[in-house]
């Protein structure tokens, strides 16, 4: 039900809001796909990756490099599947190393690997043009050249609908994944790996699958983002961007399915206004991250859910909800 309302809302939004907000929303939706993928790993499998920016960058650079070196096949319906394939492949490779670890070791190893990718993008100037970044022109679509169209018009009209259809499809698929037996197995692994192992779940393999799926989502998000942004730079592979993805997820609430989506949208608009009103954007974010992880661990979405629960529950259950915040 919520899903249908949300879809309808997204579809009519271009008629209601100025173009400017639609462009910001396009950024937000591509981040939302990334944090959905991220949350499959954090919220459902219990692995915090501090290197998801690398998949994002792999997706974005796949698009940009195809645009630069193979302009003949630079068409949306070809580029997106290639980006998916490349990010799946790289997730399979990176996962083969990283998934052997859990907890802090996993986070740090992901961080290291994302920094390898960052420095490779940064240093191979001849291919990736280093810190100058690569332009991402408007791709062809079904043989139709759209390159004469101004970018802002393209993003707010044709591409916006492509973006929301991909977004809704990927949200739906993610919902199917987390409510399938596979998703339940992942949650069992998150809660207690030892017990999950004993009831016959192949813990390492399932973590690996979850990692690959998460990488694919983030890569897809990167590819879409690069088209919205029109430009890629190594900054998106830096670990601070991984931190941003993690923060979006935390802001919305990683215990909820829609938490990451909510978080990405709130974060993007928050950042927009914070950058306008204060030069100290990092300070604001830092205070918010620290406060959120200390006081409101279930994020904004989780907080709203809890207030709702407190309103409808009886006394005993109320106490349980409140205790989650008071304990520690």
């Amino acid at each position: 039900m919520i899903f249908v309302i949300f879809t309808a809302l997204l579809t009519v939004l271009p008629y209601l809001l100025p173009d400017y907000y639609i462009i910001v929303l396009s950024y937000a939706l591509s981040f939302a796909i990334a944090s959905l993928g991220f949350n499959l790993l954090l919220g459902y499998t219990g692995l915090l990756s501090f290197g998801h920016a690398s998949f994002f960058a792999i997706g974005a650079y796949t698009v940009a490099l195809i645009a630069r070196y193979m302009p003949r096949i630079y068409s949306l319906e070809i580029v997106i599947p290639i980006a998916l394939g490349v990010s799946a492949l790289s997730a399979a490779l990176i996962g083969a190393i990283c998934i052997r670890h859990t907890e802090a070791h996993f986070s740090i190893l992901m961080l290291a690997i994302s920094m390898i990718i960052y420095s490779l993008i940064f240093k191979f100037y001849n291919i990736t043009r280093g810190s100058d970044g690569l332009p991402v022109p408007i791709p062809k679509m079904l043989g139709l050249s759209l390159s004469e169209m101004p970018r802002s018009e393209y993003i707010t009209s044709i591409f916006y609908y492509i973006l929301i259809s991909i977004f809704i499809a990927s949200t739906f698929i993610m919902y199917l994944i987390v409510s399938s037996p596979f998703g339940k197995a992942l949650q069992a692994i998150r809660d207690n790996p030892g017990r999950a192992y004993l009831i016959g779940i192949n813990v390492k393999l399932y973590r690996y699958y979850s990692f690959i799926l998460s990488g694919i989502y983030t890569g897809l998000a990167g590819a879409l983002w690069s088209i919205v942004n029109g430009y890629t730079s190594p900054e998106i592979a830096h670990w601070t961007f991984s931190g941003e993805i993690a923060f979006m997820t935390l802001l919305g609430g990683y215990t909820l399915f829609i938490g990451p989506i909510l978080g990405a949208i709130i974060y993007t608009f928050l950042k927009l206004y914070a950058v306008i009103y204060t030069p100290y954007w990092l300070f604001t974010t830092g205070v918010a991250i620290t406060a959120f992880s200390l006081l409101l661990p279930r994020g904004i979405g989780g907080g709203i859910m809890d207030i709702y629960k407190i309103m409808i529950y009886n006394k005993e259950e109320k106490r349980k909800v409140v205790e989650k915040y008071v304990r520690k």
Binding site: F50, I116, L120, K123, I289, S293, L294
Partner: protein, 298 residues
């Protein structure tokens, strides 16, 4: 063309990483806290020292104290950072000990961001440099090459402080309390140990070490915004490949990473960082718990 100089350069970088990762390991060992905010102590140390040296030298340009000021600056930087660390522990960090790792990492990541903007508020976006100590000490002849004496001094100071820290942990009474808390945080209060105070002391020590690293490096590299990111990540790598919570591990890990980085710069300047991370990934793939780490649960 490799020479002694590359090895010395590696050692000099290793000594900075050693101080940083020792602090990380100390806090992780005692409080099971992975502190991403550790990097901000490093940059704070650098900023405070450069700032102090700059101000002091503008007052005492002609005086005899000229030689002393830089060293005073380094000490003041490290001590000020230790004080900031203790304050931070008392106000924010102590609420982080019992929460899950994800939230710890995110909360301390927030602290890192806060401090990087505080630095921007106070000192602006300019580069703050204080090259006087390096200039004053001149060069020394090492096997036919001239090498800045300050670098040698830096290596000696930081390794001796590190070894001093080992002795402190293994030989003194406070060290015994720290070790007891790190073995079993829940049982320690039962023996009459004030765990909260031990945590504060270890955090203060770790901030001191990071601040010292920053103070020592500032005559060489200058204080800039974002200077903490690369050493912080490398220090994490050092701690993880040495084994989290292991002191000898951080010594071996820092020398390994420092030398690798220096060789990488000499031989493959294009992909120097990538080589370091690649080796780290290989070490971890073979030995997940790190070179000297204890096996951890699945």
């Amino acid at each position: 063309m490799l020479s002694y100089i590359n090895i010395l350069d590696g050692l000099y970088y290793a000594s900075i990483l050693y101080l940083l990762s020792l602090g990380l390991n100390l806090v992780f060992g005692v409080s099971k806290l992975l502190n991403l905010g550790h990097g901000s102590f490093y940059s704070l140390g650098a900023y405070i020292t450069a700032w102090f040296i700059g101000i002091a030298l503008s007052y005492y340009r002609q005086s005899q104290a000229l030689l002393l000021i830089p060293y005073l600056g380094i000490a003041i930087g490290a001590i000020a950072v230790a004080a900031i660390g203790a304050l931070l522990e008392k106000t924010i960090i102590r609420f982080l000990y019992n929460i899950t790792l994800e939230r710890q990492l995110l909360a301390t990541y927030g602290i890192l961001l806060i401090f990087s903007d505080i630095e921007r508020m106070i000192w602006g976006g300019n580069i703050l440099s204080a090259p006087q100590p390096v200039d004053l000490l001149g060069n020394i002849n090492v096997g036919g090459y001239y090498y800045p004496t300050y670098y040698i001094l830096l290596i000696i100071i930081s390794f001796s402080i590190g070894i001093g820290m080992h002795l402190f942990i293994y030989k003194t009474d406070i060290g015994i309390l720290i070790r007891a808390t790190s073995y079993d945080r829940e049982l320690a209060p039962g023996l009459g140990i004030n765990v909260r105070r031990v945590s504060t002391v270890t955090f203060l020590l770790s901030a001191f070490l990071a601040g010292l690293a920053g103070s020592l490096i500032v005559p060489i590299t200058s204080a800039t915004l974002g200077m903490e990111i690369e050493p912080l990540i490398l220090a994490f790598i050092v701690s993880v490949i040495g084994g989290l919570g292991s002191f000898w591990g951080s010594l071996i890990g820092s020398i390994l990473i420092g030398e690798l980085r220096s060789l990488g710069i000499a031989l493959f300047p294009e992909i120097e960082l990538a080589i370091v991370f690649l080796i780290a990934a290989i070490v971890l793939a073979i030995r997940p718990e790190g070179l000297l780490g204890k096996r951890y649960g699945r």
